[in-house]
Every structure is written in C-alpha cells, then in structure tokens.
Subunit: 860 residues, 2 copies
Amino acid sequence: MIEARTDDILTLASGAPLPPDVPAVRYGARARALWRMMAAELPVPSARLIPAARVRAIAEGAPCDAVALLDGFADPPLVSVRASPLERSWGGPAAVLDVGMNEQMRGRLAERIGAAAAARLHAGFIVAYALRVARLDDALFADLPLASEPETALAEAQRIFREETGAPLPEDPAEQLEEVIRSFARAWEGTSARLLRQAQGAPADAGLGLIVQAMVFPLGPGVSGRGRVQFVDPESGAPGIFGRFAAGAAEGDLSEIRENGIFLAKDPRGPSLEDHAPQSLAALREAGARARRHFREAMAHDFVLENGRLWLLDAAPADRSPRAAIRIVVDLAEEGLISREEALLRIDTGLVPALLHARVDPAAPRTVLARGIPASPGAAAGRLVFTSQAAQALAARGESAILVRPETGPEDVRGMHVAVGVLTARGGLTSHAAVIARGLGLPCVVGAGEIEIDLRARTLEVGGERLVEGAPVTLDAATGELLAGELPLLEPALDRHFETLFSWADEVRRIAVRANADTPADARLARGFGAEGIGLCRTEHMFFEGDRLTVMREMIFARTEADRRAALERLLPMQRADFLELFRIMNGQPVTIRLFDPPLHEFLPHERSEMQALAEALDIPVSEVMARTEALSEFNPMLGLRGVRLGIIMPEIYETQARAIFEAVLDAGAEGVAVTPEIMLPLVSAAREVDLLRGRIAAVARQVEIERGASLDYRLGVVVETPRAALRAGEIAEGCAFLSFGTNDLTQMTYGLSRDDAGRFMSGYVQHGVFPEDPFHTLDTEGVGELVLMAAERARQAKPGIVLAICGEHGGDPASIAFCCRAGFDYVSCSPFRVPLARLAAAQCAIRARAAGGSDERTG
Amino acid sequence: MIEARTDDILTLASGAPLPPDVPAVRYGARARALWRMMAAELPVPSARLIPAARVRAIAEGAPCDAVALLDGFADPPLVSVRASPLERSWGGPAAVLDVGMNEQMRGRLAERIGAAAAARLHAGFIVAYALRVARLDDALFADLPLASEPETALAEAQRIFREETGAPLPEDPAEQLEEVIRSFARAWEGTSARLLRQAQGAPADAGLGLIVQAMVFPLGPGVSGRGRVQFVDPESGAPGIFGRFAAGAAEGDLSEIRENGIFLAKDPRGPSLEDHAPQSLAALREAGARARRHFREAMAHDFVLENGRLWLLDAAPADRSPRAAIRIVVDLAEEGLISREEALLRIDTGLVPALLHARVDPAAPRTVLARGIPASPGAAAGRLVFTSQAAQALAARGESAILVRPETGPEDVRGMHVAVGVLTARGGLTSHAAVIARGLGLPCVVGAGEIEIDLRARTLEVGGERLVEGAPVTLDAATGELLAGELPLLEPALDRHFETLFSWADEVRRIAVRANADTPADARLARGFGAEGIGLCRTEHMFFEGDRLTVMREMIFARTEADRRAALERLLPMQRADFLELFRIMNGQPVTIRLFDPPLHEFLPHERSEMQALAEALDIPVSEVMARTEALSEFNPMLGLRGVRLGIIMPEIYETQARAIFEAVLDAGAEGVAVTPEIMLPLVSAAREVDLLRGRIAAVARQVEIERGASLDYRLGVVVETPRAALRAGEIAEGCAFLSFGTNDLTQMTYGLSRDDAGRFMSGYVQHGVFPEDPFHTLDTEGVGELVLMAAERARQAKPGIVLAICGEHGGDPASIAFCCRAGFDYVSCSPFRVPLARLAAAQCAIRARAAGGSDERTG
C-alpha cells in the first residue's frame, strides 16, 4: 500500500480522490482509522488531516493557514478539531467541536434545530474555547443553565468570556480554527501530556496529528442521535450487534449513551433503534460488516444519525474480554480475513491466565470489604471460615469455604485443599499461603493488612464492619479484593475457540512446553492445559505429607546411617506409589524428577508445643529435639546444606529416591506405560558432585535391575542454579543428558538477592528504575541471561545435542520464553496454569523469528 | 650442569671420575645429595646409584646383576642398601645395612671390633633381612637378647630364620644383595607406600632410586661413633655447631644420639666431641663449611667417625624454625652464596604467619588439658577467667587473663580486648570468638568440646580434672591446645633478618599490599607489618561500639526520616573522629572506606531481657521492639536488605557516612595530613545503584565544600561481590575510579554456599575431592576466578587504567595473590597479620614471572 510520503495536509472527502495511506506514526491513529474508513467507502464526514510535524511547527510559531484549511468545507463552515496522537489517550482534549460557530451560524442552525438547541451549541462552543484556547478556569462556567435556559446561558458565557479576556470571542471561523489548532499544539507540549506520554513509554519525539472534520449533528427532525456500536459480544466474542443509541446526546458523553440509550437491535428488555428506524439499523449493520472486512478486525464505532443518515465518526477495535479476544481472532481466521499466525500474534499473552480461572461476573454489584495482594489468580464465592476444621466441615456438607487466616502454615494445608479460596492478613507473594495456593490453583489474596481476625470469637473486623464465620463472601483474587455476598462467577473459558487457537499455537511453535508438577493433581492439570511432560517434579512434598513427616523426622533424629536407612525404607513404598501415579497420568510423556532439595531443618518443628509432641512421638527428651533443631538451623538456608550437598553427605536419601523411581518405572512398565525417567540433581556447583552421584544412582539402578530381572533406562541431568554451575557447564554437561536452568535460584545468587527478602524494597527499586524489571518475574538477560547463554554454549561445545531447558518460574514469562526460544532451548517448564501462556508465547516467538527472516532455533 | 642422560647405574667413588650430575627425579634426593657431596670432595663412602627405572624393571622381573653391583667394593663386600625416593619419607625402610654379612665377614669384623659386637651386627642383619626380604613377623624376634648376649641372640636369630623360611639365610653377598634390592622394589609398589605417596601428592609414575653404599662402622678402637650435625641454630638460625655425637650408636637410631650423645663443640653443660677429638671436630667443621658453600644452603649431616676418620652419610637442609629459616637465607644471600631472589623464593609463605605471633617455647614441658580448633594464631600464658569482668579486673592488676567462655557474643568483646587469649567450648572458624579474635590478633581456640564450664561455680572440668578461676594456663593457638601452667613463650621474630628479607621482597614485587583495617589498632598493626594503605575499612563497628549501639537502635526504631537523620547526626562526630584517627595513622597512605554493609537486624537484640532493656531505653513498649525485630529479620540475611540496597532505601545512612569522611579529610588536611579517601560501595549488582549513590555522595561533598570553604578530592569505587556485578563490570566501571573484588561474598554467591553454613560439610567435601580446596581459603580460579578475570577485562575495556584490587580474605592467600599478580591487579588487601605473607608471596610471583620470561604485569 502506498503511504503518504510527505507531511502534507491531506483531504478526505467522499467523491474526491483518496490520498495515499496515512501512516499512524505521522498522522495519528484516528487519522489513519478515518483514512481506512474512507477507503472502505464508509460514510465518514469529510476531513483534513494535519500531520504531527505540522502541528509541532505551528507550536513553534509557524503560520497556520486556517483559511486554506477550511476551503472545501461548507460555507460558512462548522467543523470539529480532533486530536490524533499515536496512542489514543494523551492527556489533552479529544476534540473541540463546532468551530465556526458564531451569530450567523447560530441563526442558520436555529432554522434547522430550533433556537434553544442552537443557543446551547453556541454556549457550549464558547465554554470549550474559553477553557482550551483562552485557558480560563472552568469554575467560571460551572453555574451556566445550559440545559434549562440555553439562551441565558449563552449570554452569560459571552459576558464571562469578554470580561475575563477583555474581548469577545472572534466571529471569524478561520481565526477560531487557528486558535484552536494552536491550543492543541501547545497542550501536546504541556507538562501533563508529556508526563503521561513518558509513563506510557512513548518516544520522546512522538507528535500529535490533528483532524479538522465537518460537523454532523445528532439533531434534527428525523431520527437523529448518537450511538456506539460493536458487532461482537464484549464478553463472549460471539457475533451480534451490541451498543446503545441516544437521541440528541452530546459527543464525548459516552455515559449518557450507555445509561440512557436504547438498544440497537430489537430486544425484549426495552425499546431499540430497530424499532424506530429499521433502515438505519440496516445501514449500520452493512457499514459494520464492511468495516470488519476492511479492517480485518472486529471494530467498534461512534456513529451519528443525522435525520436518519448514518455517519461513522471513528473506528477502533471492539471492546472484548480475554475470552472474547480469543473467539474474535479465531472467527476472523476461520473466515479467512486473517491468517492463523496473525490470529496468534494478536493475542496478548498477558490475557491468557485470566482465561484459566473463574472470575467475578463484571455485571455483579461489588461491595469491597478489604483489599490485599493478589497472590494466586481466580475468584471464589463461599462462606467465611477461620480454621481448617471449619473448612473441612463445610466442604463435607458440599458447601464452599473461603479460608481466612492471619497467615498460613503447614497445619493449614488440609484446609486449603478443601477451601475454594484463601485470604491472609499477613504475608507477601512468597508467603506460605501464596506459594501453596498457586500450587493448588486456588484463588488467594495475601497481606490484607486492614482486616482484624479474632480467632477465638471467629470474627473478622474490617472498616468497622464485623463478619462472623459462615458469612457469605466472594474473593476476587484478580483484583485482590474481598467482596460482600456470594457473587455470580464466570467459569474459565476453555471452549472450542480456545482449543482451536492453542492447537494452532502448537503447530507453529518450535520449543516444547512442560509443566512444573509435583503431585497427581498438578500433573492432571498440566495435561489438561496441554503440557508435553513434566519438566520439574519437586519431590520434597513426598517427605512432608501426613504421616511421612513423622518418619522423616525419625530419619533426621537417627543416630546411625542404618537407622536413617530404616526410616527411609518406610517412606520408600509411599514414594514409589507417588511416582507410579505420576507416570500413569503422564502416560509415557517425559517426567523430570528433581531429587530432594531443601535443608533438613525445614522438616523440624519451630514451636515449643510441636517440639514436645515430636519428643513424645520419638520417645526422646525434648532437650534433644531442641538441640538437634538448633544444630541444624542455618544462617542462610538458601546457601546451606541442601540439594546435592545433602545427597552427597547422606547418600541414603538419594539412594532411596532413586530406588523408588526405578521400581515405579518397572511397575509402570508392567502396566504398559513406558517411562524413561529424567533424574535431576539440584544445587550443583562442581562437576565432581555429579560424577559422585552418577555412580551411586547407577549402582541403585543395577541393583533394581538384578532384583527385578528387568532392564532400566533413565537420564541424568542437572539443575543449573548456581553461577558456578553455569560457568562450569562444559565440564558438568559431559556427564549429563540434559541441563535445566533453575533461574529462580540462579537469579538469587547472581544478584546476591533472596527473593523472600527482596519484597521489602523490590517495588521501590523497580519504580526508581534501579532494576528495569523485577528479575524474579522477567529474566535479567544482561546478567543472569549472560550466564545462561554462556552455560548453554559451553554445554553444547562439550556435548553437542545436549537437551537444554528452563524450569524456573521464568518458564512462564513471555519475555523469558522468547529468550529461551532465541537460545534454541528444547523446552521450557512452568507452573501448570502458565502452560497455555507459554504455548502461545512460544508460538509468537516462532512466528516473529520466521518473519524476521531467521528461525527461532539457534544459529550456528 | 651436565646431567646423567641415561638410566645407567652410576658409580661414586673418591678417586674415580665423577659421573654426570644425577637428577633427583630419576635417582632420588639422597642419591643426588651423595653426588653433590662427592662433587664437593666431601668424605663420602663410595656408592653405586640405581635409578628408579631400573628398580621398577627389577620389580617387574628384570634380572638384577648383584655381582656386577658389588664389583669395586671391598672383597668380601659389606654394603648398605639405601632408599632414594624423590621425597624423603616414602612408607618403606630407609636402609638395610650390613648386606654381605656372613660367617666369614663376622670373623673378620670380630678381629676389628670384638666378637660380641660382630655377633650383634650379624644378628641385626638377620633380623632386618628376615623382616624385609623374608617378610617374617617382627614379633618372632622381639625377645632376642641383642645387647646383653649377642652371640646367643645370633644363634637364636639364625634358628628362627631357618625354621620359619625352611632354609638358612644365604651366605653369598650377591645373593643377599639381589634379594634386598628386590624387597625394596616390591615395597615401593606395596599398598602403604602407594597410599602415602598419593597422600603426599606424588605423581603416579614416581619411582624409587636405590643406593648401594660401602658400610662404614662407628666402631673400633679409636674415636668411633655416629652423630648428626648442623651449622646453624635450629631455633634462631645463628651460625654455630649444633648436634650430638654418640659412640657406637646404631644407624637410624637418632633418638639414642639425641638422648645419650655428647655435645660436639666444647660446652659447659657436658662433655663434647671437641674434648675427645679436637681434630675430628675440626674436620667436621671444615666439611660443614665446604658443604654449605657447595650446596649454597645450611645443611645437616649424618656422620660417622671410624677410628677418628670422618664419613658423611647424607646431606639435607638443616632443621630450622620459621625464624631460623629467615636468618639462614638472609645470611646466605649476604654472603653472596645465593641471590636475594633465591632467598625470597626459598621461604615458604606458609611459615610467615608463625613469625608474627608468640609461640610456646618448644623446650617447655607440655601437659595438654584440652584440645579445640585453632582459630586465631599465637600463644598466650595467663590465668583462667570466665567473664569479661574478671578479665578486666585481672588486666587492671597488670596480669594476663585467658578468657574461657561456652561461646562469645557482643557482650564479651570488652573482655576479649583485655584478655591475652580466648578459648570457647563451642563454635567453629567463623564463630563470633574466632572472627573477633582474628581481628584483634588475639590467640584463640574454639570448639573445645571436651571442656565443661560451670559459669556459676567459675570452674572448668576436663577429663576429670577441675580448674578454678585464676588457675595458671597456657593457650597454644598454633596447635589448638590448652596447656597446664604458665609456660615460657617465644616472642615474635621481627628482627633485623626479617626486616632485611621483607625489604628485598618490597623491592621486587609489582603489586601493592594493603591491609583490611577497621580500627586505629588495626591500622597501626598494618603499618607495622608494612602495609601500603588500607584496602578495606569496614565501617560497621562505628555503629556498634559502646553507646553508639543505642543511638543506632534509636535510628532503626525512628518513625520518620527526620528522626533517623537526628539519630545519625549524633553518630556523626564519633564517626568523624574515627576517620580522622585512621587518616592520622595512615599519614597520607590511601584509605579505602567501605560504606555501611550489614542488615539492620544485626543491630537489634535477640534475647528477651535485652529487648526489655532496649524498650526501656527507647521508652517504647517491648511488643514494639519485638515486632520491629521480627519485621526486620530475614530468611537469608546475606542476600537481603544490606549494602547499597540499604544505602539507596535509607539515603541518610550513607549521606552521614560520607559527611563524616569528608569532614575528617578536611580536619586531617588542617593537621597537614593530605588524604584522598576512597569510598567503596558494597553489594552492588547493577550500575544504576552506583549512579544513584554517586550523585548523592557528590551532593554531600559539595555541601561540605561550601560549608567549609575548602575543596575535596575523593574516589568512588565498588566492591565486586555479586556475580552480576562481575558480569556487568564494564558498565559499573564507567562511573568508578576502582573496583575491589570482595571474593568472600563472591565465592559464596558463585557457589551458592554460605561460609557460615558450609562448615558442616566442607572438610568432608575437600577430603573426598569434591572440591579440590576450600574455596574460602584459596580462590577458586575455575569458577570465581573466571568471573574475576572477566570482570577485570570488561572494566579495563570500559575504563582503561581503572584500579583493580582484591579485598576478600583471599588477599592473604599465596595462591590467590599469585592469581592477582597474573591478572595484573594493582593491589591486594588482607588482614594486617597476613600483610608480610602477602608481601613475600607477591615478591615470589614477580620473581617467577620474570624467570618465566614474562612479567607479572598483565599482557595486552
């Protein structure tokens, strides 16, 4: 398509030749939409398009030939001046209407629409001119009786204008137009517009295009009025006609249209435009269909009916919920209006998580009781409970419980399992509640500091209101709000359109997507969301759950290796069953198991009462429990005795785990599920650690093979999560089938920054630009990323074809996924709820890479 | 010098032509010493040298032509076979003597030395042969009456040998010799010798040379006997004649010589060789002087007098204390026997720390009461105390206190300041006691788990013994022992020779040595040890000491920035005085000040009683103290809110510090001390952090300049201690005058390993070779070192000429200093007590680099 190559002022008028296409970057988005509507032969009032460069020149004092601008409009002219920046919101007025209004014009209009309406328009123009051009205070005009006594209001407006500026408003339309254009040019350079542009990340040299457009009036004897229309359901994306029409509404007053407008198509709920003017509605439908084809997008339009004649004033993408967004692009692609690739690229990956969770019906009335930090997405409605027991009791009766706690601990996990939502008064994004809830896919809000919980009275007080246990509430974890009453929820939108779009994504993407899944529930969720395997199965929980914790503690308190082995022996069948269940669910897909990672002290009690209980259970003095707990405590647990270090120092832990995995593999095989497990070592910092453990695990495999008379295949790999493992990746890769970058810990160690402890200053750091992004959300490509790329290169050099992956939470972040695609990784692994997002992000990377003439696979 | 080029068996005999020089690596150290003695025309019994390759071949079955070997010795021959490995200890016998002994030889010897002596030699040979060659159990010969009834013993030995082996010991000398040689060859391949070699780090293909040497006898009618001599005092290194001589002592029985021998030169304490045979002593002196010149080393010799005739059996470097080692090389260099460079290279840097501390007189009788971990070197004698108060009371009376505590905390620091030594029952090398003691240069032993302290009774029990407060004890922190009684100590040896050697070191080294010094005491110590400035002045203590802690806590509990500033204001004059004092002591030498680094919670109390006291002092409820303490606590303090992060979040802390520094600089200037302070930012991970703080510090500088009407010069730098700071060093360097690598933290973060928490497994890790060395002692060149070099390169590229340094504890480790020299760093900074070691290590690097034809400065 040929674009306008100069910075000329262009004319759009039906009948006149269409000028070359106007680039939005020079003329603004609205000007471009106007041009496209004109090109589509849609009914658009004629207009002149002034490029941003001209507007800037005018701001700097260049002449503005308003007389020439008005040439071609009606004589005498009546026009609007509309802002056309690149981004639609810019901090200044959208338009100044009725430029050209004067005594003469008012007289002419009075003939058409009556003296009162004409006076009201005139008065409105004077006020707009006074505020925008003369920069008068709007308080001066606050009391004008515009609606009730328009002619009085006009006289009063003229008086105020004259008194304040020392002169009446100029009558000459050209003079008015020049002043209005200059006022826009100045406003663009003003402080508020500049700050807003900076906040939106607009380039420093962005400019403001302007449109001078013939006025059309939603006034007159025939069907006249103003409306807003779109041809898809904003909630579902289904085709239809949606919007409102209001006779006589002033431009820009959308709320009036929304609140007082009538329906467009026939509707049982009330009167409609179709009832009044079926041919106008037909024209609207026809224009909408034409715009859809032309824009290759579901559009929304502001329109005017002037004595039954349709004018479109604007065209912008239709409003849409995340779910509607999916349906719209799928429909467009299935109609052949856009390609599948374009459909994929048009979906902002940020919308995807919202699709996977229930949400509060936006139509429901919201009474906010308390606010906290959204920690795990979704929404839930149910009854307030304060204990796990109460949650379980409610669940047993088939009712939904919203669990509210000051903060949660391991003892609350049972309650969280049966609750539909969790709210805590304390804690941040990495608190126990937040982490567990995300793992369970449970809506969760944390750190709601305003609520006061009285656990004994079983009440919650907030803002003077008191809620008792059993009170109906709704938790909106998308906004972090606790709402009064059980509100209606909209369920996740994993419909045909979702499935279709994501099947397209899977066809184009070049990087696999696995899930971080620790439990059968996680694994089922992951498969449901289209994961192609488990990239990270953390095994710690297998030592925490229920009775196992007691056995684990016995192991920790054992005095000899033999006693430790005996305790671990008792955990073996449970672990084997866990692994078997995972293998069954994944049904032959790869399963990557990370061996035991946390420090042992995480398994010990901290409260004195718990210590006493443990002492009784183990039949040892409580002093011994306390001494051992103290002996095992660490200054910096993240940098302590855990991961492979523990695996090397206490070989029996990893040996039992390896045995449980291998026996489960053979059991699965007997059921017809072939598994090649991938065993992954955490916290490696030296190749020798891997060498040592490779030998021990191989010995366990041989032993199981002999005992069972069967043969075993497995792969051994390493989580690269210390900077040193990244630096020594060449050496480490030699003994590994795969390396998976644990970017959570790698980021913590590269920055010297604990994620748990960073909360106190991270937001300030990001706000002040010390860090451009929170490196725990988006991979720090400059630091951590360099280490990752260095490691990948060294690993491939040492072992061509080695499988490379990422299993930190960055695996679910689009920018980080793009990084992995560029690096040619084999897969990303992320939490189940991020899997669809990752599939889409990976598809977008592949499409963009292909478009850039390259490929998303590594070069060289 | 020409070396023997083949693996020939060589002959050393006076009168015969000297064979080419024998390399120790092929013939062994003893063979080479023999060759050198022969070359020096010293009286050495003639010998044949069998290279290791030949011995290995014999072990593998090659023939051993013993007849040819004996050719040239007396007929009938009587020889010794001596081991000559590369390292003198090898796990097998040093020698088998009297090979060739048989009935005929006994008869001949009986004529010279009497029948009884001859029978004793014969019996001794049979026992040696039985043990070494026939591999009989030595218990069989335990009851032989060798000394009292030698002829009975002989008959009995012969009988046992015959009964156990089924045949008499062969009479043929050649046959005997062949068997003895084969037994040595086998022993070298035996398990114990192999393990010992491995432990010593010998190469896998190391071999054993052998020496067949004519026997000389310390027996006979004239002055006959055996002795050991060296010509320097082993304690001081002063010239003299030292050793003992014993008539008739058997070879190898050094203890007999040591215990029963007479003095060599005339001595008031007892009889001497000089009394008996002045001409023999003169020959010995003459031989010693000749050996010294020839070996260019102070040597020790085993010698034999055979009827007054002197034979030297061996030559090895003289025994020497660390102090003597210094004097010996300085004397040799001053005599012109060796160059200054060689003198410097000959001193093992590991000896240096011992020179700087007092030690227990090795002659004193030691009764060990308890053992612990040597945590801070030195030795101290004094009276046992259990509290700081008691230590202060004793010190006030001018007496020395050894402070014993279960473990120490901040409240014990006053006591440590006045004590002469510290012992704790608990804790490791990074415990409070260890760290503080090293800082104070105070001898300290920690983790003496056997002692039981009763603080109320003020007693200490160990091994059934009870010591009360005031008991005289000696703490030997070199060995980690608590000794009974106040033993005599030898004071540090910073004498003329020390000064001379270290002045030579300073002349050749190319890298500067600074000290990590926080206090005036540190700084004085550092200057005394030759530091060229302060490379790291930690400022935390300025907030901890005495009353300041209370003000600091007020600052932490302040609710507003204004209140925080008010509290800091009160600390300002104290800090300014601290800096001024440092500047005075360093007298114009550079002083690098690291701004506040630790997390705030380190300043808060942990015990409930302390919290109550604080609540009273601040006049706030104790609940608030507890809440604030809990709010500030961190999961991983090392990775938390500290360093620049705190400096950015609470600007007033760094601003106050900067002001204190600048004002002290101007005050020092007024006293005539010109200082250009170097201000260093800790825990940087992004360039933007530096940019922000550079601006703030510059603003403080400008303000002080305006207030004082003076101009200020200072340099800003960064401690590179996060991996990310290393990766982004280019960007960071742009705004810095210097980068100093904080390799302690950098190692912790690169490994993901907290030094405090690594203690539990580090020794096991190193023993099993998982890590080749403790990376906190010796810089991990493969991982951390790569980051350091990468950072250095990037920093230089961005800012040529930027000053680079190291300020971790590695700055005092010779291997790590060598790394810094190779990397072309400008200086290393280490604890004051490591400064001399660093000066020497730096000199050795420079000499070696020059010798390698390169330079110790960076190339390119």
